[in-house]
Point group: C2
Chain length 416, copies 2
């Protein structure tokens, strides 16, 4: 719908990344410049902030502070894990959203997140279309998991991959420093798709990576793992570094961390909360071979290490936000911003396009099996060629007192 005049609402959802705020900066700065956008709102904790009429008036923020969002990790507005029911089952939330959008004359809605968030975005979009309420809606992708369908890659992935590769190079030097055998098992995020764990191959490319890399795309056998580790130890002075995706499963689809433990905590989306896998596999190796072991988890650091963000990722995330607003103002709706890789000039270039948002909702793009080596313990050079352009450039975060200077928004409530 062209020439819609009204307010814009932006929300952040799902697990944060190092650059999700860069997309927020892109949305805010572009929206504040658009003449048809009469007010810019940032929802506290995503969809929950809309339901509870809890959002901030971004027009009150200084532009300088909004630009600092480009280097500020995590979700500055607060995130949420809240799954909307199908409107056919329960319309309550949708009616409330419509009510709030009408009250504040929200005519532009941008939602920044991964699969689950694009599902939310799609459901709201479809409901408002059906209701005849004019509101242009564009999803802005983000996920360190890099598993969104229809886009070459996702904002957030390059920075997390750079964290994984850089940190592994450093760990490689540290974990092999003694004259005795030592096995390190490194656990990297990724429930169903192994993209982030695959980034360990970038460290291998520099000669300082993991000896073994296990992705959830390939069924994991504990017996094979133990044999693989032993083979590396035998040829490498008792030393081995193995990277495992948190979501590795056996051939029957059972999470290895669960077959190894009874930990069953659940997070907000009903996913099983994983953890402790590295420690358990390391213990197993210790029991088998009596070698010194270390279980290492990159934990939250891999998704919030903004000091180590990829410059390319920051700029792409920022531009994705701007692109969403521009497209909506040009009349686009019910879409998600996607990235296309253009190598026609011989070097990497990112092209910004749009795709129907429903195509991204609840689908998962996995690492192509042909990019995983035959032994299931490493990646091919095709993966390295794919990922290298995404980790280029430094974050150049401003420092103050030798520490990062992060955005500190005023967060003036916009409640009427």
């Amino acid at each position: 719908m062209k020439n819609l005049v009204g307010a814009c609402m932006f929300g952040q959802s799902g697990g944060p990344t190092s650059v999700i705020n860069a997309s927020a900066a892109g949305v805010f700065i572009e929206a504040l410049e658009q003449k048809n956008i009469t007010a810019v709102y940032g929802a506290a904790h995503g969809i929950k902030g809309i339901l509870e009429e809890d959002f901030y008036d971004i027009g009150q923020e200084d532009k300088e502070e909004l630009l600092l969002l480009k280097n500020t990790p995590s979700s500055s507005l607060g995130s949420v894990r809240y799954k909307l029911k199908d409107a056919s089952v329960d319309e309550t939330d949708y009616k409330r959203i419509l009510e709030v959008f009408k009250k504040y004359n929200v005519r532009y809605f941008f939602y920044n997140g991964g699969n689950d968030s694009m599902d939310t975005c799609n459901k709201i979009s479809k409901y408002l279309l059906k209701s005849g309420y004019e509101c242009n809606i564009i999803g802005v992708p983000k996920t360190i998991d890099n598993d969104l369908y229809g886009t070459d890659h996702c904002p957030g992935y390059g920075s997390a991959a750079k964290y994984v590769a850089t940190t592994l190079m450093e760990l490689n030097l540290d974990a092999k420093v003694y004259d005795k055998g030592q096995v390190a098992v490194v656990e990297i995020m990724g429930r169903n798709a192994g993209w982030l764990t695959a980034a360990a191959a970038l460290a291998d490319y520099k000669g300082l990576g993991a000896d073994l890399i296990y992705l959830p795309e390939v069924p994991f056998s504990v017996e094979k793992f133990v044999a693989d580790v032993k083979a590396v130890m035998d040829k490498n002075n008792g030393k081995c570094i193995a990277c495992v995706s948190e979501g590795i499963r056996d051939k029957d689809g059972n999470f290895i961390v669960e077959t190894l433990s009874a930990a069953k905590a659940k997070d907000g989306f009903g996913h099983t909360q994983l953890g402790g896998l590295a420690a358990q596999l390391a213990d197993l190796v210790n029991q088998k071979f009596g070698v010194k072991v270390r279980g290492i988890e990159f934990n939250l650091m891999q998704r919030c290490g903004a000091h180590l963000a990829s410059g390319t990722d920051i700029e792409e995330a920022f531009t994705a936000g701007r692109t969403a607003v521009k497209a909506a103002c040009e009349g686009e709706t019910d879409k998600m911003v996607v990235f296309e890789r253009d190598m026609s000039s011989g070097s990497y270039k990112c092209i910004y396009k749009l795709m129907p948002v429903e195509l991204a909702a609840n689908t998962e793009k996995k690492v192509p099996l042909e990019w995983i080596n035959e032994a299931g313990t490493g990646l091919t050079k095709e993966y390295v060629e794919y990922a290298l352009p995404l980790i280029q450039g430094a974050s150049n975060s401003p420092l103050e007192d030798g520490l990062p200077k992060f955005a500190n928004l005023k967060k003036v409530s916009a409640r009427k």
Copy 2:
């Protein structure tokens, strides 16, 4: 002993740091320039390389590569945890060292390490003095633990502290992102001295730190911890970040990690190997309050995160190496390089001095109790003033393919 002409031997020992190789660069570059030094050797795995006649001819290395050592974490020559017996008990190792030193005409010996390594350095120094073998020996300090006696601070500490403070700021933003309660327990290295855990206070200083900080200097009560966490949760929307030193102990001196588990693995020096503390304390909080928890370990990353090294620390570590060589060439021996803080100009300046090495051997400098707040859960501004100058400046590591470019030494064997 002045005007000694002969070879120089350098070794690295104990746990690596982000800047121990910067000291190596300082020693090597200075030694290669000294006319009385006829050859420069780097021992593989510290004292073990000397005993086994396994060392490298540093004269074969390119200066460019040696300078890259300034940004390369861990111990490039390999480290070791090997405790020399007292010469009065068993002279075997000492005789062997003397034999090797004579064979290669080693007249300068530099050993880079912490308390245990300074003990090694002191023992060798005393033995050679007694034997009448002329060899000038200087210890070069390093330790992320910052616990060496007689020096304002230790090379390696500033970088590890910068890692802790920066990462905590990022974690603070991530761990508080949801609209629900969440408790994160962060485990930081430090068996007996809480210096590194104290660095969490630098993040607090920027308003993005831990709510609670527990050092081994203060007896730890699990009951008080649980109550402290509850009090923070109550006033902070169910959220709390607590930092604990791996070495926290109860009032009877028992390690909390041991009272909470039966893990009893031992490392090379006979210290109990600690770990899993964060996960155990987090579990405890989960059991008590049913809140979502995360146990986070900074693990090896805190001591090898060279990409986040302090520029000040790199330069001081490098200069400590140079200072050791210069001093030895001027006739000094049986000493360790120490840092003195000079604030006379109103701003921080590091002065390089020497101290008898035996004073540093096996002593530990702890965080002054008057720098810990009354509740035993935080640091005073005196600590922040002490630590801030040490984390200034960026590492400016060179990048290649978007990843760190580390030194890659030829390591040509010097064995005759």
